[in-house]
């Protein structure tokens, strides 16, 4: 299935997925108070000074061919679709105010600086805040219209319009904006009625007011940036699409306004092609045959094939990414089956029963880095945690103490008389995930837990929505028909990304069923921290809150129902003649700095 982006700039996204139970009122660690955070040193947190220094361009011209194995959906990245492939293909056509570098820093795109409290770009005013955004002076849209504060202001109205059909950004953050000053100038002040931590994820991408105004808001998704009329679109980035040969490729030419008003240099290439193959295997073969210059969207599972295909090792660029493979445990299901105390004891025991080292060795050949955190070590709010070590004896003690007995068949029986027989779900198209759950089943046997592994279609079974999928479909995560599900999440630069995953009201069984708190975690202390996080823009305070959240997450006593396994590798293949292609594991994707690429 498709690698997914999230909603804000780069929150967290499902990469693939997974499965039993009913609504959640239960709460892992419901009585747990936030642990005392080791106070992070209150030093200036720099989120925008990057180590990235591109080589000077020594040659320009020619045709650049980028390859993928998935077809993008729409130019409207992060607006009407959330595929990572959209960002790869169109993130460089429609720029944002800022984006993420390969070393996890924000760098300005259409703005000149990244506003923070520290640099004075964000000023707190009671409950609200003012954000000053300085646009690049003289910057133009591809049709020659200036990029101004009016574009920012109009997009707020446009995003909030009740006539929006299928827009995925929702109103989070936008609804806090009361006005945008600056008019047709380039120094803009955005007034927020409430402090909003995710403010850097707004205007991602920035859209041209004069183009949006040509059709009704309801028609924008289908009539603007239409795949059969890309030339009519208005763009801001270095290369703009001119044609889309469905099922085959997208063609681009340099955006003259970008190169004359923003980059102020010559385009690295005369034209660009985004070519997609049907599978990663054929994409690999195409790269080996020099059909393409850069081949993207690979991970640790592809490395062995790259070697056997005979790809030059110098062309393989592999780094640890922000995507982490994890097991989502459905706490509501455990609670329904075994009661409050039973679920908490079982979840705590599970944390000790995992042997992640064995999973790493046997499933991914030992090349991955195991983790007990949901963050990448490269983000500024990452905390080095002491991970629980595998301790089967301790897990058994916890279950014994909680009254779980062992039946004649070796399967534990909860104090309420129910056997601990659980359902593990994952995508049937991902063999390594099926193998991982099968290996886990053997590990859990040692603590008397029986796990039945059920591979199902990713969509619609595993991730079918509340209305799109029947309530009784086995393994459906939205309806909670699973005990444990394996899939991956992409952690973003913005800490607020976890809000949708762990805030209690985002339990998909509740409200409008659009939440992605599949694990049904309902922890008041965590909710409180997340609420604080949402309304905090002081980076030191944000980091303190994130440290506290990570403490809750990792401590087995809190029975947090998500167990991360290992980080994915982000792998890109690049022709050795290509320069400045820097592997970027963030949601900015590997085409993040295409304006610096050249071939020599």
């Amino acid at each position: 299935m498709r690698k997914r982006l999230t909603v804000l700039l780069a929150i967290a996204a499902i990469v693939t997925s997974a499965c039993t139970s009913s609504s959640a009122t239960g709460t892992p660690g419901a009585t747990t108070k936030p642990s005392v955070a080791p106070s992070p040193t209150a030093v200036a947190i720099d989120i925008s000074t990057t180590n990235y220094k591109p080589e000077a361009v020594t040659k320009t011209g020619g045709k650049l061919v980028m390859a993928e194995w998935q077809e993008p959906v729409t130019v409207w990245w992060n607006e009407y679709d959330n595929s990572a492939t959209d960002v790869e293909a169109f993130g460089f056509s429609l720029w944002s105010l800022w984006s993420a570098t390969a070393d996890y820093k924000y760098y300005p795109q259409l703005a000149t600086t990244v506003p923070t409290v520290l640099n004075g770009g964000v000023v707190l005013k009671g409950d609200g805040m003012d954000e000053t955004i300085t646009m690049r002076p003289g910057a133009m849209w591809s049709d020659g219209q200036p990029i101004t504060c009016d574009d920012l202001a109009y997009q707020v109205t446009w995003q909030m319009d009740a006539g929006q059909v299928g827009n995925i950004q929702g109103h989070l953050g936008w609804e806090d904006i009361t006005s945008v000053d600056g008019g047709s100038g380039t120094t803009c002040v955005v007034h927020f009625a409430k402090q909003y931590e995710g403010y850097l994820g707004l205007w991602s991408p920035l859209l041209p007011k004069h183009y949006l105004q040509t059709v009704s808001v309801a028609d924008a998704g289908t009539k603007l940036y239409a795949a059969n009329n890309l030339k009519a679109g208005v763009y801001s980035g270095p290369y703009m699409p001119t044609s889309w040969a469905a099922g085959a490729e997208i063609d681009y030419v340099p955006n003259p306004q970008f190169w004359s008003t923003i980059k102020k240099s010559t385009a690295g290439f005369d034209s660009v092609v985004f070519k997609y193959y049907d599978s990663s295997a054929t994409e690999m073969a195409g790269f080996k045959n020099a059909e393409t210059d850069v081949a993207m969207n690979y991970n640790q599972n592809d490395l062995a094939a790259m070697t056997t295909t005979g790809i030059n090792q110098a062309s393989i660029d592999s780094i640890d990414g922000t995507t982490y493979e994890q097991h989502s445990w459905n706490y509501a299901s455990l609670k329904t089956k075994f009661g409050d105390a039973g679920a908490k004891a079982l979840m705590t025991a599970l944390h000790y029963a995992y042997d992640k080292g064995a999973i790493n060795q046997r499933i991914v050949g030992g090349i991955a880095v195991t983790t007990c955190n949901f963050n990448s070590p490269l983000v500024w709010y990452y905390k080095e945690l002491t991970c629980p070590t595998t301790d089967v004896a301790k897990a058994n003690q916890i279950l014994d103490a909680a009254g779980f007995t062992t039946g004649a068949d070796g399967v534990r029986v909860a104090p309420n008389g129910k056997a601990v027989e659980l359902l593990g779900c994952t995508s049937k198209s991902r063999t390594y995930r099926v193998n991982t759950l099968t290996l886990l089943a053997s590990q859990l046997q040692q603590i008397g837990v029986k796990l039945d592994v059920k591979p199902v279609p990713t969509v619609p079974d595993l991730f079918g929505g509340w209305t799109e999928q029947g309530a009784d479909v086995p393994c459906n995560t939205t309806h909670g028909n699973f005990d444990v599900a394996e899939f991956a999440w992409v952690a973003g630069l913005d800490p607020l990304g976890i809000y949708l995953l762990y805030y209690s009201t985002y339990d998909p069984s509740q409200g409008d069923h659009s939440g992605v708190n599949y694990i049904r975690v309902n922890n008041p202390a965590l909710d409180q921290l997340l609420d604080q996080l949402k309304r905090t823009v002081d980076l030191n305070k944000v980091r303190t809150i994130m440290f506290q959240i990570q403490d809750i997450y990792v401590n087995p006593d809190n029975a947090f129902p998500e167990i991360p396994l290992y980080y994915w590798k982000t792998v890109v293949l690049k022709n050795t003649a290509m320069h400045n292609v820097v592997n970027n594991a963030t949601s900015a994707t590997n085409s993040w700095n295409i304006e610096d690429w050249f071939k020599a």
Binding site: V75, Q164, G166, I168, A246, G247, A248, E249, E291, G310
Partner: protein, 370 residues
């Protein structure tokens, strides 16, 4: 004959009507439904989904949805008025006489939900020539080979040659298409580097942007460098055509062999031989012509393949044709495209059968539909 054709065409209407109900019904029964594509949008609210459902008319009763899709009901109408166009005539009539202008009957297959803003007819129109190229070449090669191998096998029946051809047929027939395709890619593309791994053209052939099969840039470049373009096209065709032919020729050559053996046993063939007609003439003039009759029927049934393409082969070789479009559309829950391809395929199957019957009458004077 004309009366027969008219009778068959009229008879096809209820068949196509039932097929259209089945196509619509299967899509309704498909897990997920037309809005399944939004299931993973974490911030797609219920309100937002409801707007889409309304916009797509999915909040209407199923018979009304079907009726609109077919082009019999007016999307703007109310009550019984839905059967009447805005001009006051039955909606199913052509727009030229005041009827409706959307729905299948008016050649409007809707808007692709995975390609924002693009009509289904345009999406299909873009992919069809590519499939025609692949399937057309494959069909010519495989029928030629099937005839040759079938005739040789029949004429040399029970000899070592016949045995070798039979073994080849069974082996080739046993290959799963996707497996054979991947094997060929590994050998001829990955390992040897002789042929491209997939696609239909080399994007680097022309340094100018927009170079892809069917674009004005493509034909412009072709007019200047015809040999280079043809060589490039041929290099991309070899592996997918080989895959299609290897699997398909096996079945058809067995079919020709059986027909040919029957024909060779006929009295008129023996008579021709006894009269001193050369063996080659007996085989190709007398026997093969008669042996072709059942083959013609088979070709008629294979005609839809020219449109739908070979799903597995196109997918494995990233050939951007109808088969790959169908698979991609299923994966993206693009129901308008899936239904559009299904409807056209149904039309072709019915049309192909009719054509086969007509050709049958032409090549076999004993048959009369009068």
């Amino acid at each position: 004959m004309t009366r027969y054709i008219v009778r068959r065409l009229v008879g096809a209407i209820p068949t196509l009507f039932i097929i259209s109900i089945l196509i619509y019904g299967f899509v309704l029964l498909a897990p997920g439904g037309p809005t399944a594509a939004f299931a993973m949008n974490a911030k797609m609210t219920a309100e937002s989904r409801a707007l889409i459902v309304h916009r797509w008319g999915l909040d209407q009763p199923i018979p009304v949805q079907y009726c609109r899709w077919l082009g019999v009901c007016n999307p703007d109408g109310q009550g019984l008025g839905i059967l009447v166009s805005n001009s006051g005539v039955p909606y199913f009539l052509p727009a030229a006489v005041g009827g409706g202008n959307n729905g299948v009957l008016h050649l409007d297959l809707g808007i692709s939900s995975s390609k924002n803003g693009v009509p289904v007819t345009e999406v299909i129109g873009e992919h069809f020539p590519r499939t025609l190229m692949l399937a057309g070449v494959a069909l010519v090669v495989w029928l030629t080979l099937a005839l040759l191998l079938g005739v040789i096998s029949a004429v040399k029946r029970y000899t070592k040659i016949d045995g070798a051809i039979t073994v080849f047929n069974y082996v080739a027939y046993s290959f799963p298409t996707f497996w054979l395709g991947l094997l060929l890619i590994i050998i001829f593309s990955s390992a040897l580097g002789w042929l491209p791994a997939g696609g239909m053209w080399d994007v680097k052939l022309d340094p100018a942007p927009g170079f892809y099969f069917g674009s004005s840039e493509y034909w412009s470049f072709f007019s200047q460098h015809p040999l280079a373009v043809l060589a490039d096209l041929a290099s991309h065709l070899i592996l997918p055509v080989a895959t299609l032919v290897a699997v398909s020729v096996a079945g058809d050559s067995r079919f020709v062999r059986a027909s040919m053996i029957d024909a060779l046993r006929q009295d008129f063939v023996r008579t021709a031989g006894a009269k001193g007609v050369t063996e080659r003439r007996v085989i190709f003039k007398h026997a093969l012509r008669n042996a072709l009759l059942p083959v013609v029927t088979n070709i008629g049934l294979e005609l839809p393949f020219l449109f739908t393409g070979a799903i597995a082969t196109e997918t494995v070789f990233s050939w951007p044709g109808m088969g790959k479009l169908f698979i991609d559309s299923v994966g993206k829950f693009d129901y308008p495209v899936v239904m559009g391809i299904s409807v056209i395929t149904a039309l072709l199957v019915v049309g192909g059968n009719l054509l086969a019957d007509i050709v049958y009458a032409i090549v076999d004077p004993r048959i009369s539909y009068g």
